[in-house]
Amino acid sequence: MPPFPTVVPMSWYLILSAILFTLGAAGFLLRRNIITVFMCIELMLNAVNLTFVAFSHQLKQVDGHIFTFFVMVVAAAEAAVGLAIILTVFKNRQTLEIDEISSMKL
């Protein structure tokens, strides 16, 4: 039983972000509801943000935060457009089943 650490190693944050990132990917691969899938992307972005913030703490810079900020803005924009697209899809097909959006193939 190793002694309980009082400070957190950098790597723990990174591992955490890795886990979240992978979970996002997992959701993308496993969920069939388009909106959920989209949310998983957001989760991945969050994971990335965590990495940025952690690194900027390590580097004692603010740039990481800035980047995070921009990611958030982009996420917002994507959310707006993405949800609009999902709306049109739903309007035309009455479904959010991602696997049914596969008329064009091969």
């Binding site: 990917a25 603010v62 800035i66």
Partner: protein
């Protein structure tokens, strides 16, 4: 103290994330995503990102997720029902992939990031609004301006796609 906070909220974040993936109904996924975001905000604080933490809660957990929930309500979709049709993405393929992904990244982190690097609350306060604002409006002026275009595009796109025929 750091460790406990980190572990707690990291735990919550992971738990919510897992829940997000496991839930079949989008609304519950959305809620768990909110959970992830808020707990991440705490971690940001631990990392000295006071401003970004605030933004995380307000913009992300607040605005964006609300938008999500709104749309989900609008479409009032049911949860994914278990359809008999063939599995497009067998779990048997997905899981090994994901584990190898996390595995690879984790190995790199574990082997490459020196363990001397530690995070201690308060050792870095560069994330306060002042510094942030300075940087944003000097070095990063241009991207900041361009993001306005980005938002414009988003609005325009939403209008184009969602407006009723005139």
């Amino acid at each position: 103290m750091d460790a406990i906070l980190f572990l707690t909220f990291a735990g919550i974040a992971v738990a919510c994330a897992i829940n997000l993936v496991l839930q079949t109904h989008p609304i519950s996924s959305a809620l768990s995503l909110v959970g992830v975001m808020t707990s991440l905000a705490v971690l940001y604080l631990l990392l000295g990102g006071s401003f970004i933490a605030a933004v995380q809660v307000i913009v992300y957990a607040g605005a964006i997720m609300v938008l999500f929930v709104f749309v989900i309500m609008l479409l009032n979709t049911q949860g994914e029902r278990m359809l008999p049709k063939k599995k497009v993405m067998p779990v048997a393929i997905a899981l090994p992939l994901l584990f190898s992904l996390i595995g690879v990244i984790a190995t790199i982190v574990a082997t490459q990031v020196p363990s001397t690097e530690v995070v201690k609350f308060g050792t870095f306060a560069g994330g306060d609004p002042l510094t942030f604002g300075r940087a944003m409006f000097t070095r990063y002026l241009l991207p900041f301006e361009v993001t306005s275009v980005l938002i414009l595009i988003a609005i325009l796109g939403a209008v184009v796609l969602a407006k009723k025929e005139i």
